[in-house]
Assembly symmetry: C2
Homo-oligomer: 428 residues x 2
């Protein structure tokens, strides 16, 4: 097979330029590995004149990505624009309608429209590949969809937003409060234009929803992801967690339960000596658990020109080599509607309470926990101001519902000064 | 495509039984994921009567794996017998000659005969897949061959023999000498019939040679792997390394240099806080570095029924889904002859010397190092018997050749009581 595979690349930001560089610089290697030349026919971006430090003269230029997607000399539409509506969606739909395969790094697009896009693709005999949409350079979509295809997947977890992990790591290392580190990250350009996409857990939630679909054969259900961001994580809790042997991570967890599919993206405590606990800075990690494989842990850079372009090219090479696979691992029409289960799998919890410093206050709290069937693994009173007594509690495994009930009852005792901090401790 | 994919499984040990269980128990899932039924036509093993806790009645039985490989009702020959000659080789060759695809867990077979088998396969239009041959359940062959196909791979490293890692971890945790932990591991059934395959680094060396072939597009060259086992690792060195902030691991490293391909499997020091340093017990880890992706780290179980069967089934599912790919990532005839380079990439080294306790002894050693251009990062004299002075040295980066020359010159000084211990410190 020596017919070239012809790419049309829409979006020439960091990742797009990275892809162009690889195609230009590694033509021989790519041809040798895939058995056919991989070439670029045309490109598209908002501004034609911007200096992108790579020569684009050999490629046709399209101002309109939809036109690019429909070109006769394009076999694969490479969508690197981003955004789940507008041009990215229109051009992707146009590409599929025109019978083109699609490679995309766009997690938002697939989290919102994955089902309809996958159905369209499969009706047209096209494939959609999206390795770059989840965990940057880590070939996790491939591992989950292909390498572990003989497993019933039991749980997928991951730290998949490098910016959040940078902020949390930096808070701990430098002993700085959230607001200050957030400002640093913003100044360094680490945050999305809408920072809530990062620190609110939305970006990572998109990724989790995609992994869950493949893992459990269910339709992508981003709306079913319980989202909690890192904005309320206090440096004090990071320190207290560390003293107890834990790290706080924005952790996504998807697991199928008897009640349905649990998907949550929230700050959790993980043991500091676990692979997740060891993860620093912008690095991503995904943990996949299956009934046969037990546990596989994948770690790598979550963003950046090279790593993301590497993931895009992995998909391009798969298409060049002739791999045709359903978008989410099984035919889109066979994906089950995900039955949303509120996150209620038992886990230990970290509780940080601030009590009025008066006799019997702690007894009231302990009584409330006991009445709700929550037993205490460890408890300590940390410091002591004139009027307040901060108390840390690590519970034995309990359900979130029981904990929420207990927290309500604690409020009713009148001995709590602040809202309590309650963070799940994820067993890794 | 609803034609079933029909397997012939040769070898019904732990892994073979694991594969049979998955095919039996997950028929619907496998069919849904691959688009066609995956079935077993026939099986073969040494003893038909053994109780294997799985019902084999539905499958034809062949005493002779060659006959199994040639059956008309077999599409994929699944070779789980092991051994690089004899039945495994004969049956694999017979399968390819008959135009069957091959899935194998046999690292020795491919390390010794990979080139000829791959050439035969490709001439016949067949594929050979071997995910289970390297690092158990970790989908590392897939990651390297497919996911990272857009990269020039710069280095591949791994801890890929769980038994050795168990022994080294256990020595450290329990403070026990090598011989005692080796005996424990033998009693627990962790060792191959020929233990030198494990502790001599041969098994892990086979795996490294396979990874190197894919990474660098070179013919598998097991003979070019510099092998050093863990038999001479003393508990004292494990403790000393720990005090310096390192762990000792049997680490495989393959890298392409200007001089040729370096492949070494040897005990190395790695930083204790690195992913490799954190690795305990039988778990495996592979680190892949590429020019685009930077670094990806994969971790998972290196052996066992479930994990290894998971890897075998990943390959089977790829074939069921229609993936056709060259055995080592590029056509076998295009694989370059590996130019063997002696391992000489600069690295810091750990030196453990025992000197006669007399004036000027240390000065002589320091002089020899200086004369060979080796500078000292850290040095400490550890304890002191009546007549001997043990000395630990961490050098700055140097080349192995310079170190070997220096060690020869140290011997000539006459102040050394024992042969020195010299272990590479691998930068991770």
């Amino acid at each position: 097979m020596t017919t070239p595979l012809r790419l049309g690349i829409a979006g020439l930001g960091t990742v797009g330029v990275g892809v162009v560089k690889i195609v230009r610089q590694k033509a021989n290697l790519l041809a040798q590995r895939s058995g056919r030349p991989v070439v670029i026919s045309a490109v598209s971006a908002r501004s034609r004149d911007k200096d992108r430090s790579v020569n684009l003269d050999a490629y046709a230029w399209e101002d309109d990505p939809v036109a690019l997607a429909q070109r006769d000399d394009v076999d694969v539409f490479v969508e690197l624009m981003g955004g789940h509506e507008g041009a990215a969606r229109l051009a992707t739909e146009a590409a599929l309608a025109a019978g083109k395969d699609v490679v995309t790094a766009n997690k938002a697009l697939l989290a919102h429209h994955g089902q309809s896009l996958a159905e369209t693709a499969e009706a047209k005999g096209c494939v959609i590949r999206f390795e770059a949409a989840v965990a940057g350079g880590i070939p996790v979509i491939k591992a989950l969809t292909e390498g572990l295809a003989g497993n019933d997947i039991t749980r997928v977890m991951g730290v998949m937003n490098g910016t959040c992990n940078y902020i949390l790591t930096r808070m701990q290392d430098a002993g700085l409060p959230y607001d200050q580190v957030f400002a640093e990250a913003e100044a360094l350009g680490y945050l999305e234009a809408d920072p809530n996409l990062d620190v609110g857990g939305i970006d990572a939630g998109h990724k989790l929803a995609l992994l869950a679909s493949i893992a459990f054969g269910t339709r992508v259900d981003f709306a079913g992801v319980e989202l909690e961001g890192i904005q309320r994580i206090a440096i004090e809790d990071i320190h207290q967690a560390a003293e107890l042997g834990y790290r706080i991570k924005l952790l996504g967890v998807a697991q199928m339960t008897g009640r349905g599919l649990e998907q949550r993206m929230s700050p959790c405590l993980v043991p500091e000596e676990s692979p997740l606990g060891q993860l620093k800075g912008g690095t991503n990690m995904v943990v996949i658990e299956g009934d046969a494989v037990e546990q596989v842990v994948l770690r790598g850079p979550g963003a950046g020109e090279g790593p993301t372009a590497s993931a895009v090219m992995g998909d391009v090479m798969d298409i060049a080599r002739g791999l045709r696979i359903s978008t989410f691992g099984i035919p889109a029409r066979e994906l089950a509607e995900a039955k949303v289960a509120q996150s209620n799998s038992p886990a230990p919890y970290y509780l940080h309470l601030t009590l009025e410093d008066r006799p019997g206050a702690l007894a009231k709290i302990a009584t409330v926990l006991g009445e709700n069937g929550i037993s205490i693994d460890r408890m300590r009173q940390t410091r002591h101001s004139d009027t307040n007594a901060p108390v840390l509690i690590v519970t034995h495994k309990t359900q979130r519902a029981a904990l929420d009930t207990a927290v309500e009852a604690m409020r009713a005792t009148g001995v709590m000064v602040n809202d309590p901090v309650a963070l799940r401790i994820e067993t890794v």
